[in-house]
């Protein structure tokens, strides 16, 4: 598979379809380019009130008292709520308590920004003023901000009830370590003893945020009949419904979630934050209440992803065969347990087939907002460490960095240290596409360096439901529940269209609420095109079967003598008997509408086998200021089958650029008192258009073994390799190994000065 005919965007496709693989205009396009599409904050309804939230000014404190009387007395205020308005059963589990406390703090606040109370008023400015009138007495406690500090024996304890789970067993140990797990394969002592060359290094990554442009927004109406209706921006209306049922202690049947359009999520809009608060304010005020976060709220009160401390040790023979891999991952969970250290441990060495591996993972609570998923959560941290260690190993061996990876590449059947064996995967194909890409051999200029890296994300499957109604004009209405963050209305519609032999433009997709479609999992985990698309395929097959029955009735022949081929229903024996889908649709109304349906669990973690992604990146480092420009970047990814290549490219380019921001500039700059200093988009520096070159793409297609079109989820793996690829490029340009993120200009100059001994 060579890429000698270079184009900026390439699809290395081996199977052609009629609709799948083409680039039609997305069905929701007109609404989105005219401002008509309604996002969370755009929703309006009669008598709408506005909610404003009071958030903790302290990183760690006990709440001694809350006095809301002045707020309640302010003209225009219709409701004030605190944790007292949430249910708290006597037998409330720790997990449930944590989920409720994170919505509105009860006895303690665990991070600056932790929500404590909320006010509803008809004027949002009045609501804000009322929040300023709430009086709270705090007992400030010492705070801890990093995983290593949280693990120290004398660290302040965040959660009195938390006991460390040690290698699967609950202990009596009171600490900030929620969990320590281990994955063991073979014997690393044997492996390291066998090695000719060893690289060992420690890495640190800073807390970073998903950075979606749309802040969280939800409107709730807790109606007089006891039913709660939520309109929100969410990555999963069913996930939101389930979360609300647990937090509010009401049955899921009492809750309806209507998803609005969503302005970015990257995993961060899977958890709920403003929904329960809006619900409580609605219940208390008797009105619909909208709660919208400010940008500072988003940074301080919603889950960023974990900062982390990672140690890698890798040993290899002189010929490049890796004999042992060891990883230590300590991740910041934020105020409550649940960092993505587990996922990081799955992905960290996934690209390598090595006999002896040991991974230790630690989930550590610290006084930062509770972490939330951020695009391949845990894997970018892990790759930043592992892929630099591999790069350093290649340097020590005098080996080409891609050849070193090829020599040790995971293949179908490779057993990962966390247990599963890979089904068919595209690791080698991605590496080979990287190696043969013209970028890899292009000349470099002064002060420039090049780096490569490969990353993995396992993807998920789980449950989706789709209904398809056939319209008499030959179009179909496709009813689904996957909120569309990146063009999945198109990719799901295209899979149904392919089955029925109709153009995508004849599919009318609707994303509906939780009462109107069967259970559907989140738009996340790289599952939407894969799982909901697969279910749409099955629903379309159901339609096809029913249409065949109708044709049989019309032609008065046996149904098993009719087949659907290239969009035409035809008799296998009599060539005169044929009708297009459109023609048949126009004739069936007398017999009732054809409704196809499917609801499926498409597999669990690792459904489809996961996706490998690689980057080749060039940087130019100003030797006097340390300013780093990304001058060229190429993204390569195995998509299995790119249903809509433009949207696959979009995922690859988007993940690459988030990776650039993560690598060079983004971080939570924490003050001594545990507050974040840079809570605006001015100083939380995400890349602008001027910071980024064109991102060339190569889509590799190694079909997954289960999906009908061979699809692999692509949303996430592409954010895994950029940070190490850039670190490797900076090393190539400067000779300095940058083991901490972000690799900003100050860090680069400090590394230079340290080397000079000045």
């Amino acid at each position: 598979m060579t890429t000698t005919n270079y184009e900026r965007n390439m699809v290395l496709s081996s199977v052609d379809y009629k609709v799948v693989g083409t680039r039609p205009i997305r069905p929701d396009g007109a609404d989105k380019v005219t401002g008509r599409a309604l996002y969370g904050a755009d929703f309006d309804t009669s008598g709408l009130l506005h909610g404003h939230v009071l958030r903790s000014p302290h990183a760690h404190a006990r709440i001694k008292s809350i006095d809301t009387s002045k707020a309640e007395a302010l003209q225009g205020v219709l409701a004030v709520v605190t944790s007292k308005d949430l249910p708290h059963e006597a037998d409330e589990s720790d997990a449930t308590k944590y989920s409720r406390d994170n919505m509105l703090a009860s006895d303690k606040v665990l991070y600056k920004g932790h929500a404590i109370a909320a006010v509803a008023a008809s004027n949002p400015h009045v609501a804000e003023e009322a929040v300023g009138l709430i009086e709270i007495e705090y007992e400030i406690l010492p705070s801890v901000m990093t995983a290593p500090n949280g693990m120290k024996a004398d660290a302040p304890i965040l959660l009195e009830n938390l006991r460390t789970e040690e290698l699967g067993e609950k202990t009596d140990k009171v600490s900030n370590v929620a969990q320590h797990f281990q994955h063991v394969k073979g014997d690393i002592d044997v492996g390291f003893a066998d090695a000719d060359v060893v690289v060992e290094r420690e890495y640190n990554t800073a807390t970073v945020h998903q950075g979606y442009i749309e802040p969280h927004a939800a409107t709730a109406l807790w109606n007089n009949d006891g039913r709660l209706h939520i309109w929100c921006s969410t990555q999963g209306s069913f996930a939101a419904r389930d979360a609300l049922a647990g937090i509010l202690a009401i049955p899921v049947s009492q809750i309806r979630v209507t998803p609005l359009e969503i302005g970015g999520g990257f995993g961060g809009k899977i958890p709920v934050y403003v929904e329960p608060i809006a619900a409580l304010l609605s219940k208390k005020s008797g009105h619909a209440v909208k709660v919208v976060m400010s940008r500072a709220d988003v940074f301080e009160s919603t889950g960023p992803t974990s900062g982390s401390n990672i140690r890698i040790k890798v040993g290899a023979k002189n010929d490049g065969k890796i004999t042992a891999l060891q990883g230590y991952l300590a991740f910041e969970a934020g105020g409550y347990p649940g960092s993505p250290v587990g996922a990081g441990a799955i992905c960290i060495f996934a690209a390598y087939d090595v006999d002896n591996v040991l991974i230790d993972g630690y989930d550590v609570v610290v006084n930062k907002p509770k972490s939330a998923p951020y695009r391949a959560p845990g894997a970018p941290n892990a790759a930043f460490a592992c892929e630099q260690a591999i790069d350093e190993l290649a340097g020590k061996l005098g080996m080409d960095p891609i050849d070193l990876r090829l020599k040790n590449a995971a293949v179908e059947g490779t057993r990962r240290p966390d247990g599963p064996a890979f089904p068919r995967i595209g690791c080698i194909e991605v590496l080979e596409a990287m190696k043969s890409h013209p970028h890899y051999s292009a000349p470099l200029g002064p002060n420039q360096g090049r780096g490569v890296a490969i990353g993995y994300w396992f993807n998920i499957g789980f449950q989706s439901s789709v209904n398809i109604n056939v319209n008499s004009d030959g179009t179909i209405s496709l009813i689904e529940g996957s909120t569309d963050i990146g063009g999945t209305r198109a990719s799901i519609s295209m899979q149904a269209a392919e089955v029925l032999g109709i153009p995508m433009e004849d599919v009318r997709p609707s994303i509906v609420d939780t009462d109107s479609i069967g259970f559907t999992g989140v738009t996340g985990g790289s599952r939407t095109t894969y799982a909901t698309g697969w279910v749409a395929y099955e629903a379309a097959q159901d339609v096809a079967r029913q249409m065949v029955e109708r044709a049989a009735a019309i032609w008065d022949v046996e149904a098993d003598g009719i087949e659907l081929k290239d969009g035409v229903f035809q008799s296998k024996t009599d060539p005169e008997l044929k009708m297009t889908f459109k023609e048949l649709a126009g004739q069936i109304e007398g017999g009732g509408t054809v409704v196809g349906r499917a609801s499926m669990n498409t597999g669990g973690l690792g459904a489809g086998g996961g996706s490998f992604a690689g980057n080749i990146v060039d940087v130019e480092v100003d030797p006097d200021t340390g300013k780093t420009l990304v001058t060229r970047m190429t993204a390569i990814q195995d998509a299995g089958k790119a249903i809509h290549p433009s949207y696959v490219e979009g995922q690859m380019q988007g993940g690459s650029v988030q990776g650039i921001g993560w690598a060079l500039n983004e971080e939570y700059y924490m003050r001594e008192d545990g507050s974040m200093a840079n809570t605006s988009l001015l100083d939380y520096r995400m890349p602008t258009s001027l910071d980024i070159p064109m991102i060339d793409t190569v889509i590799v297609e190694v079909a997954s073994s289960d999906h009908p079109y061979g699809v692999r989820g692509v949303g996430e793996a592409n954010i895994v390799p950029p940070t190490p690829a850039i670190a490797n490029a900076v090393h190539n340009a400067t000779g300095n190994r940058m083991a901490n993120l972000p690799i900003n200009s100050i860090a680069i100059m400090e590394a230079k000065w340290k080397k000079q001994g000045s």
């Binding site: 003023e129 100083d683 100050i746 100059m749």
Partner: protein, 290 residues
Amino acid sequence: MHWIDYASPHSVREAVDLLNEAGAGARPMAGGTDVLVQLRANALPGVELVVDIKNVPELNEITMDPELGLTLGAAVPCYKIYGNQAIKRAYPGLIDAASLIGGTQIQGRASLGGNLCNAAPSGDSIPVMIALSGVARIAGPNGEREVPLEDFCTGVRQTVLQQGEILVALHFPAPQANAGANYMRFIPRNEMDIAVAGVGSSVVLENGNIKSARVSLASVAPTPLYVKEIGDAIAGKPANEETLQIAGQIAKDAAKPITDMRGTIEYRRHLCDVLTRRSLQIAIDRAKES
């Protein structure tokens, strides 16, 4: 935001009267790109009246006179500055600053006068305006006065403006022959950021030597820093690498930065050296072309 009242005077007199009467309770506003952010963050406690000065004619003036130089109204937005061909030719240093503040949309509103009155240590327009020997024309209840720009900022977000006073315009002397100026800053991204360090410089050349020079620094002291010592040290010296290094070293020594979320002390001082040399080089190149 707490409740505010809004007034839009149409004369300098009216503006002065409004501000004088309300005292600390009022704040003049031009582009609003700093004032509104600060009001929302409760960083302007006690301000209950916003006085919009964009409708006062003198504050929108752009006049170029071959002898008197440039008169730039305090409210003139950045886009009008870099869209003005005469200013582009005669004061490229001002264009550097006007094109760097924020981004396109911010430049549609923000003014150099407002940037000056905001008096942030990092104000991108201030160093080069100082280097160009700019003067502030102020109107107040007691009449008008002028203040050289290097004296205008007195502390972080503090200026010489007294109760009821308003910046009316900025004056820049007519450019001399063989003169050039430049503003340059270091930011982590390529646009939109606050300067980690910035340098405004101007030079006048004579026979290949630096006849005179003015250099001012941003983001390395509580106010923009006019480093007179640099001009004193390099006057009469040849416009070469060695001279630039002298300038850079003085800049590095004069800087008094802090460590904060945008930079460290050591890094900012280092940048003062690098940027002073680079900025002066551009000023010199422009002087040769002029």
